[in-house]
Symmetry: C2
Subunit: 224 residues, 2 copies
């Protein structure tokens, strides 16, 4: 198809598509004439993936480029792709070196061994976790570690569901892409669900003004 | 204390502190002389909260301003503060109106009623969830809805743990701040844990190269 058709199908403006091609996110179309290229299903699919990671996953173009590069690597081990995608979800790398950070790191190391997780403290996600715990204890919320295992149970449950889903994808192409989609979009999904569950839990706990109280009513009704 | 001392204690540069004051994120210090202000514990605490939301929560200054405004509102109902904090975690508001979006919205409505969640489809988090599901089905991952309830179970579990933690905070001041911290930093925590659980789950499933395979080894070893 022509670039115009690709744009119509995906809702992505032609200049944006050309930008993605320049940035190497999207392979260029097959030249059918000096100034005309043909795009196929693969382009459409890739374009939708880019938009999903961008709009829903909240990733930056450069981050998406890294993930797609891993996705397109000749022999791309699943772990590798999963890792690249997951790392892009990491927090700003502002490492502090105070007592809280040290304590948080050992809490995370303890969690990993206690849960028997086949990973290592050097994992970026472990670093993000330590950073978060350290920030909490600096805020006087060090007691939040009490909920650590409840979070871990939930995380394991979600990870199992994700992998079970990935397992069901037959073609490896699908599987690896499924991992990227699941990692990034699944994150957005869990985040949204947690916020919904918060509204429900707090409505039950502090039952103030009935359903849908507060949480985003403004935004929900469009004034935000 | 002087602004220099506040900066030393929190690791936030003086110009940054002044910027936060100008932006209304941090109340100005008490003038002790025409060109000197005194800052107290409250300033230090607020400054740490700002940094946590910024560095760990990945929020923007403007978003933090909204959350702090709700936090400082004279009679700030907990639901309201929770809502403002939660909404700031929402995805880009790119609403599409195709078949996938409509289908996703009804899936979410079904989920909310099935789980008996005291919320409403108009909740921004519900909109984020629909948007995510729609993006997934556009990518041919519509089957991901199979894991919806596994995610919901996990989200409920985490929400219960969060609220139980908040309940334990005695002072209301603490409690409301605890909600903000829990909502934003808890999100970063769950995200990091989910990624760790993924590494573990995929290591067990595809067992390729042992522990810490792939996921962020580069970043972990500092080349990223």
């Amino acid at each position: 198809m022509r670039i115009g058709e690709l744009s119509r199908r995906t809702g992505v403006p032609v200049p944006t598509i050309k930008y993605y091609v320049r940035e190497g996110l999207l392979p260029s179309g097959e030249l059918t004439s000096p100034n005309q290229a043909a795009y196929g299903e693969a382009h459409e699919r890739r374009l939708r993936l880019i938009r999903a990671l961008l709009d829903v996953g909240g990733m930056k173009v450069a981050e998406i480029a890294d993930v797609l590069e891993a996705l397109d690597a000749p022999e791309r081990p699943l772990h590798k792709v999963l890792g690249v995608a997951a790392d892009r979800l990491g927090g700003a790398d502002v490492e502090q070196d105070d007592a809280e950070s040290a304590a948080a790191r050992s809490v995370v190391a303890g969690l990993i061994s206690r849960r028997g997780w086949r990973t290592h403290e050097s994992n970026p996600a472990a670093a993000d976790l330590s950073r978060t715990l350290a920030a909490m204890s600096r805020l006087g919320h060090g007691a939040f570690v009490e909920v650590l295992d409840a979070y871990a149970d939930a995380a394991e449950q979600v990870a199992r569901a994700d992998l079970a889903y990935v397992e069901r994808r037959v073609a490896v192409e699908d599987m690896v892409e499924g991992v990227v989609v699941g990692t990034v979009l699944g994150e957005a999904m869990l985040s949204a669900m947690r916020r919904l569950a918060h509204v429900d839990a707090s409505a039950r706990l502090f039952d103030a003004e009935g359903p849908e109280t507060g949480t985003g009513t403004e935004k929900g009704t469009g004034t935000d």
